[in-house]
Symmetry: C2
Subunit: 138 residues, 2 copies
DNA sequence: ATTAATGCAAATGCTTTGCATCTCT
DNA sequence: AGAGATGCAAAGCATTTGCATTAAT
């Protein structure tokens, strides 16, 4: 909830007009924009911003841990600024729409109705991410 | 475990040399090939098979529910023939290597050491897939 | 002054498509 | 025969890259 821009300033992140606009566009709850959507919204406020800068900035924010990258399988990645509160994702396999959800109880069992947002849930999938022994060695 | 080819025959799947080779290449446990790897192995056995056919066939197998598509974020998708036994995935963020895992207890907590295969696990991520109300209406 | 961010345009990687030809059933 | 699968090559989309220019500290 606390402002993304403020958090970034607090971390001594080098500020430019472009970076500010990207952070502003991304700020908020339930925001899951694609890079293209970020570019479109950013261009409204700052017409000279380039696609490369949007990608650069998004990549930065992800490595800073301030934004989460959500892969939607086939479709363009979405960027989620809600990195400070743990949550999971509910993704529409038709259109790629995303909702944040907070499952209760055993997460592999059905998602509570109150957390389903009208979706017909057909699959739950869990992924552990890390480094394999070979890559850790390098 | 039971043979992928047999299951496909049993379902009345139209058989061709190309489809047979793809199914053979994919058969087995702990198999997580990319489309390109499938093409390479298939080409060894049937030099005239085309990339388009490999993609077509993989797509078919996925919609039949006989093969799982595993998105590895940025990298090429991998195809997992182990669709008949529930399991989760452990993915290396450096090289994209995949292992099947069977977490016990609360899946969002740490993966048991015996299931870690030497990986350093840095994140667990859960995704619910389904159809949103708007798409369901269409 | 230094160091890093920006913009452009071209390149990349994976996957899909259109369409004519060939093959299973 | 007829529905459907195949191969080819080109197109598509999301994302990345190289490099000269520009701006922040």
């Amino acid at each position: 909830m606390s402002d993304l821009l403020e958090r970034l300033r607090g971390r001594g992140w080098r500020m430019t007009a472009q970076r500010r606009v990207v952070a502003e566009v991304l700020n908020g709850d339930h925001v899951h924009l694609t890079a293209d959507e970020v570019l479109a919204r950013a261009t409204d406020r700052l017409p000279e911003i380039s696609r490369a800068t949007v990608y650069n900035t998004l990549g930065e924010l992800v490595s800073l841990g301030e934004v989460l990258e959500v892969a939607t399988d086939g479709r363009a990645k979405r960027y989620d600024p809600n990195a400070h509160r743990p949550h999971q994702h509910l993704i529409c396999s038709d259109c790629g729409a995303i909702r944040d959800v907070h499952p209760t109880g055993d997460p592999l069992s059905a998602l509570p109705a109150a957390e389903r947002f009208g979706f017909t849930v057909s699959a739950v999938e869990m992924t552990y991410r890390g480094r394999c022994p070979e890559c850790a060695r390098a």
